[in-house]
Symmetry: C2
Subunit: 417 residues, 2 copies
């Protein structure tokens, strides 16, 4: 027999509404109260009781589980800390809060013996947190990588399919509601960064300092970059990456050229994908909708039902989901990483420029893997694309500086997956 579980919902926007609609199929769960900013706003869902004071929820002794889908740090952090101290289990979709203050929250949760679940915080509807904590628990990871932001993936896919600029695409995405009026959080890679911080945390069992994650967004990707990458057999994707680097963890977010033979290159539009590589499993990949009312609600409701199943029956609810590591990861500086690079170059004139590029690379121990010269422009300039073999980030930055000192314009430098 299942105990009837009382939940308090903080946030009744897109995701919150999806949660309310989905929970209609689960009479063993009761939404006692939902906290909203504006009590008078018209909504397409009904809840027993509304409040505009979310602290009412986290302090309500009748509420067993606090479901936070409001986002942001303030007041979410205070709210969840209070809820945990009041011995309430937590379900949250708040990737920023987990990335920045997860350590404190998880320690507090252990102290008060409550579960904090956050399936919806990474990759929307794709089950990824729970599989890592359960079915894949026997693995030691080498790498986790993926496409974790639907907005940027939509923009890059549309740029490619329509051959248009980033700015045009962003505008279209905003008109369709796929990008926010202030798109910074998505297009500059912050959202992706928060998510990879959480994934790195649970795959490598170390705490990640989000301020040390190298981050580049997609705003510098040009229609030309996408076209040239395509000619060379690649697509450009905003990739989140965390990999074991001899005991250090190399965590970063930046655009990458992904070979068309890699399935990640085929993850288009608002889809997300997470690839895990470890022992003994080898490589597994999960794909699906990374955002949206219902996919995100699927993950939130899955977490609520997981708590409901054990609530009142176990001294420790869902022990597998608890955070038992406290050690900070040593994070690799981007300058200490090795990568293959795409360099888009404009040179003042075509004659001898390949030699100049070759020299700058050679002097910095960089081997060139392929070169694509896109004819000579009417003004005499040459547009050249270079793909390097694997070399150090330090060396490539030195080579770039040298080329720039010789009046060679570097349009873009993009890492290759």
């Amino acid at each position: 027999m299942e105990n009837k579980l009382k939940i308090g919902l903080i946030g009744l926007g897109t995701v919150g509404s999806g949660v309310v609609k989905t929970l209609k199929n689960f009479p063993q769960i009761e939404i006692k109260t939902a906290a909203v900013r504006n009590l008078n706003k018209k909504r397409d869902v009904e809840v027993n009781q509304l409040t505009n004071d979310p602290f009412e929820i986290v302090n309500d002794p009748e509420i067993d589980v606090v479901v936070e889908v409001a986002g942001g740090i303030d007041p979410a952090f205070e709210l969840l800390k209070t809820a945990v101290k009041n011995k309430k289990h937590i379900v949250t979709a708040n990737k920023e809060l987990l990335a920045k203050h997860g350590a404190e929250l998880f320690d507090l949760a252990n102290e008060h013996n409550v579960a904090i679940l956050y399936e919806a915080a990474v990759a929307g509807g794709i089950p990824i947190i729970m599989p890592i904590k359960t079915a894949l628990k026997g693995n030691k990871y080498k790498k986790v990588a993926g496409i974790l932001n639907g907005t940027t993936n939509y923009i890059l896919t549309q740029m490619e399919e329509k051959g248009i600029s980033y700015q045009e695409c962003l505008k279209a995405a905003q008109d369709l509601g796929y990008a926010e009026a202030d798109p910074t959080g998505d297009v500059e890679g912050y959202d992706t960064m928060y998510k990879i911080a959480t994934l790195a945390n649970i795959t490598f069992n170390k705490r990640i300092d989000v301020s040390k994650i190298y981050r580049e967004g997609i705003t510098n990707i040009s229609a030309d970059d996408i076209k040239f990458a395509d000619e060379l057999g690649y697509k450009i994707k905003l990739i989140a990456l965390a990999q074991d680097n001899e005991g250090q963890i190399d965590v970063r977010v930046h655009p990458m050229l992904v070979s068309k033979t890699n399935v990640i290159s085929g993850i288009n539009n608002a889809l997300n994908a997470v690839m895990l590589e470890g022992f003994p499993v080898g490589q597994v990949m999960f794909t699906g909708p990374g955002a949206g009312e219902f996919p995100t609600a699927s993950s939130v409701v899955g977490d609520i039902l997981a708590i409901a199943a054990e609530f009142g029956k176990c001294e420790t609810i869902l022990p597998m989901t608890r955070c038992n590591h406290k050690e900070m990861a040593v994070q690799t500086n981007i300058l200490d990483t090795k990568n293959s690079y795409y360099i888009s170059i404009t040179a003042p004139n075509a004659i001898g420029v390949i030699g100049v590029i070759g020299n700058a690379c050679g002097k910095n121990k960089i081997n060139i893997s392929s070169v694509l010269q896109k004819g000579t422009q009417q003004d005499g300039t040459a547009h050249i694309i270079v793909i390097t073999e694997t070399c150090s980030e330090c060396d490539i930055q030195n080579a770039i500086k040298e080329l720039e000192n010789q009046s060679i314009k570097i349009n873009n430098l993009i890492r290759v997956m």
Copy 2:
């Protein structure tokens, strides 16, 4: 603090060895005894204690969890029933046993309040059972489909890449150890059938009669079929499918033409994939290694660790994983399904044959979507490929009979995804 868990391992072949090697990283788990057929066989793993009587394990009062990776029905069924009656939790990779006798086992497990976990029984290393039971628990499914057998997928991929026949490919796969000496279980679709029975069971929450699952293997797929499918924009895959058909469940296994625009078409060689479609999640897909020592061990060890985490701490261990449905599904007969079809036809002479085909289809309410006539052969026969629009299986079977009555040879009839 975790209790030390004692397990008994039945089977020390490929998967069993992988489990022993993987468990070395988890000192909280002790393998007390392993049951093997031949005590004197040389092995690359060591276990505390070997026995050739697996009943010793299931009757050992010190053993908490029985891990069965031996396969087959006899004696596995008896062994696991005894283990459950002795209140041992079960981890099994035995898809055939679950498909044929799961109902009885799960009822018995509920009666004795033990967990039966079987992540490794479907899609090897891919986490799919636990995600359906946890993170995706809030969903009502419309469809589950996938590639669940690595051997047949390897053969089909190689046939396509090398343009060679099924027989040649099978031989090569056997030489490489990818196919067994008697390949029937794989190539005739039995293995896939057992797996989709389990997936259908847990996604639709109804019990599946495995004897009512329509099943076709890949032995009739010719190099020509693969070539023509390719020309028309498809790949041929052995697809397992379970879908809601107005309250009935349509469960089947057969080859299908899969459009190259569908990601499932890109799942090659020994990889497996499972696609789930439901509300609220939409579509999610999981891909990874469907077999092998270490991927399968990953799933077995995940299940063991899940039990270990709650062992001795909860009156009911892992309540979310229990089977709480007893209703038998009403399964749709293949003749009552609707599909689009690929028909490969050889006609005695080219003249008028398109008309004859068109008539047979028209009379049976079948619309033709595309026709590909592969010239006229030297002997005057014509090879024609027809793709139909969606029509009923009954109608297509009638049309086929009519064509055969007119001396038109049907080389193959393959459904289109």
